[in-house]
Assembly symmetry: C2
Homo-oligomer: 146 residues x 2
DNA sequence: ACCAAATCTAGAATAATTCTAAATATTGCT
DNA sequence: AGCAATATTTAGAATTATTCTAGATTTGGT
């Protein structure tokens, strides 16, 4: 069922990545990561908390924040922000943009050719050296998947 | 001294733009707008408040927020967000990107060819109709103006 | 000058996130 | 196995930026 390129990194891989940063694999971290992989709808910390609680009823919201931050630090997950709304989390590590649907509030990943990111960086005046570019679209999506 | 293309819109123009939206020109709105035009360093609401207070000691922070919001609504000013930081305000209406200097925290405007924005929108899959694109660079700037 | 509507103000309320300090869990010795 | 050192989790308090509320002030049109 792995029809599309997927950067799923299951328990062992996760443990490895964490260890690389001198961190431990814990049930909380594994579960938070799994929740992000399972439903890739850019959930907020609160939403992750809600999805994780049934599995691990004792988990606290602070821990969810901690785990998410940890995963971001280890480059397993990207934090996505849109106009002061709550931070959303995204396990898609390919370079991509985001599309915010004004009607539904949903966030969609938009894959873009890598060269485009390079082209953008090339537009910067001398003296500016970017190590990241973020691209966000806003508008209406009339996808069939809605 | 008007060396660069400038979209300054002084009192009369401001009053006009406000009137277009059925709003009044007030000392507070004029001053907030002037402060934004005078020092275009993408100040936060707090910073605008600090700059405005000496001129109009009775002004409240709530009013500064109100004025900024009003100016944004009238398309005189753009609100700029970067990773959950406080919203910053920018009177540059040309389509442009922002560069966040990780070292200084400063925000710089980056003018980009208009066609680039169009090209980006063209990359969207069918079904996605964007009415705005936001581009943010992050990195180090070693400009002489620092 | 008067009235209605618009605007402004101070302070309370809210939302998302971070901080703090104590409780738990885990690891690496011995 | 036993134990100290360290990492992680937890609940709740604190913080920050912003919005809300309700009353006071200002304004434009008659």
């Amino acid at each position: 069922m792995s029809t599309h390129a997927n950067n799923a990194l299951h328990p062992t891989g996760l443990a490895q990545k964490l260890a690389d940063s001198g961190l431990r694999s814990t049930p909380q971290r594994e579960l938070v990561y799994e929740v992000l992989l399972t439903k890739r709808d850019h959930p907020t910390a609160d939403e992750v908390f809600a999805r994780v609680k049934p599995e691990l009823p004792g988990i606290s919201l602070a821990t969810v924040y901690n785990c998410l931050e940890t995963l971001v630090q280890c480059d397993l997950v990207r934090a996505v922000n849109f106009e002061r709304g709550p931070t959303r989390y995204c396990p898609n590590l390919r370079p991509h943009a985001h599309f915010h649907d004004e009607a539904t509030g949903q966030t969609h990943d938009i894959d873009l050719p890598t060269v485009l990111f390079a082209k953008l960086k090339a537009e910067l005046p001398t003296g500016f050296d970017a190590n990241a570019v973020e691209i966000t679209f806003r508008g209406k999506a009339k996808t069939s998947s809605n």
